[in-house]
Symmetry: C2
Subunit: 304 residues, 2 copies
DNA sequence: TTTCGTTACGTTAGTCGTAAAGATT
DNA sequence: AATCTTTACGACTAACGTAACGAAA
């Protein structure tokens, strides 16, 4: 009972003519004959009553058709649905991002993506630090724009889309506020705020746990949103390294952004579950790659 | 989406382990890997999230399983039903016969058949001449015990089970009644009764339409049952050739059976629709063949 | 180091189309 | 004679297992 035999049986049961069946299936007439014969051999009884003038279903063949036709249809439907979800660039793609600033980038890439693939709707989902791991693991978003390198073995990431130096957000009254630059080493002199809900591992990837010289970098209050973080900074409760674009998008009188000399650069890339990779994701990643190839870092002024 | 791929997918979705899946399907682990990969390639997305330590369904894989599992089950059920109807010797076999005398033979063969195939019920259906063509053509019986050679191109027949000479049933007051024998030539001197509902072709096969010398053999009144035929004979309304065993089983004072010198012998065999041939039929034919090989003609006294 | 999934490769079996044959009207 | 199904045969593909390899704990 192979797929080809079933398809041949169903087609012949409908056409009742070997020639037309062969044409419909794009195979030779000989193959139709052989496939039917093989199925009949497997069943142990003729399925068609045929002469060179007439082709008709036997009672057993008729019963088999009634049973198999809907089941096979259902099978094809299920398969088609899986293909649409996997290969087809249609349906819905859920793109997560972190912070309102990058929303602009995601929006512009989505615009390009929508032009290329009009059948695929894009849902933009702003997420908090706490959800970074949860969202991807829990199948709440398909792809996430992050500046954190691969942090889990079952995740894949696209190429670096754009890179930014780190700046340190400090209170306007903080001693650092008057300096031209700070280094990682300086982080040991204050407390670094901590995004709430992040695993220790992820937190360490965002901000090192020790300075290059080996001094521990202490963690301070937790926060859930960017705004909350900035409020804590303004109140002098600690410092936090952010990508440079934040100095443009999140300017506040009580917060100063000081360039970091040796902070890890923020390398933005798309991240998705390896096991959940689909054509939609590949297409979105391609659109993002192509977008930055033309426009460069969309969050910072073009460099001369 | 081949059968093997579907089975592998379903088995792996249930086992979540390549080794056990391979064992269950009696294939190598390599084949499981390749089949799954091929299906994933066709779908365009991973169906399993797997490492050397863990195998889990992806959302797309999970959805595909939900869709495919019941459909495939239904497909197998339909196929199994066809196999049971065709290859399996189980279910019901409807055996038709003509005249109560041969019922004894059919009964004894059924007895043997039942011993060989306890899962198959046998239904005995006595039929009238009128139904011979209709019963077989209309799927009312599966196999029929007849003494008429192949009369339709889409019918098959087994070997001759037993053979009997023809005798002519005549009225006890008929001139033939005192003769030791009659010939086909004599049939032109009276009217031959005609089974009702028989096609001309079938009627001609039962009783020739002309004598060897070319004189027409006229047909008389019609009858539907053997008893009716005998009543007409007794009343002197005509004659009718019957197999010799009728002289033993249907003896009546007003009817005399005269041996025919050149009548076609009655060659009893099983007949069935070629397109409806099943293992049940083959098995019943085999039982009948074996029965007569041991017992000879069960309707006549054993010859010395 | 063990367990488990993947890749490589050579053998084997089966698929397929062309063309000739057989059957039916 | 024309139409339609079946059989024969040769080229080719892919299915399969063994064994080596790679990754994970």
């Amino acid at each position: 009972m192979e797929r080809r035999e079933i398809e041949t049986f169903l087609a012949l049961a409908e056409e009742l003519h070997f020639g037309r069946t062969a044409e419909r299936l794009h195979v030779s007439v000989a193959m139709v004959s052989k496939s039917v014969k093989k199925l009949e051999r497997a069943v142990g009884a003729p399925l068609f009553d045929r002469s060179s003038r007439r082709v008709a279903l036997t009672p057993i063949g008729s019963r088999l058709y009634e049973d198999v036709q809907p089941a096979y249809r259902q099978l094809l439907d299920g398969f088609a649905r899986a293909v649409a979800a996997g290969r087809g660039v249609e349906g819905v793609l859920r793109v997560g991002f972190l912070g309102t600033a990058v929303a602009r980038f995601v929006l512009e890439v989505s615009e390009e993506f929508r032009i290329r693939h009009p059948d695929c709707r894009v849902e933009l989902i702003e997420t908090s630090y706490a959800d970074v791991a949860g969202l991807l693991g829990g199948d709440a978003v398909d792809v996430l724009l992050l500046a954190i390198p691969d942090f889990a073995p079952d995740l894949s990431s696209g190429p670096v889309l754009f890179s930014e130096p780190a700046v340190l957000a400090v209170s306007a009254r903080h001693p650092f506020a008057r300096r031209d630059a700070v280094s990682l080493e300086d982080l040991a002199r204050d407390k670094v705020l901590r995004p709430r809900g992040l695993t220790d591992e992820l937190d360490a990837l965002t901000v090192p746990v020790a300075t290059p010289a080996g001094r521990p970098i202490e963690r301070g209050d937790g926060f859930s949103t960017i705004q909350e973080m900035l409020a804590l900074i303004g109140a002098g409760r600690g410092v936090f390294p952010v990508p440079k674009h934040a100095s443009l998008y999140d300017a506040r009188p009580d917060v100063v952004y000081v360039p970091m000399t040796d902070g890890l650069p923020y390398e933005w890339r798309l991240i998705w579950r390896t096991a959940g990779e689909t054509n939609r994701i590949r297409a979105f990643a391609a659109a993002a790659r192509d977008f930055v190839a033309v426009n460069g870092n969309p969050l910072l002024p073009a460099e001369e």
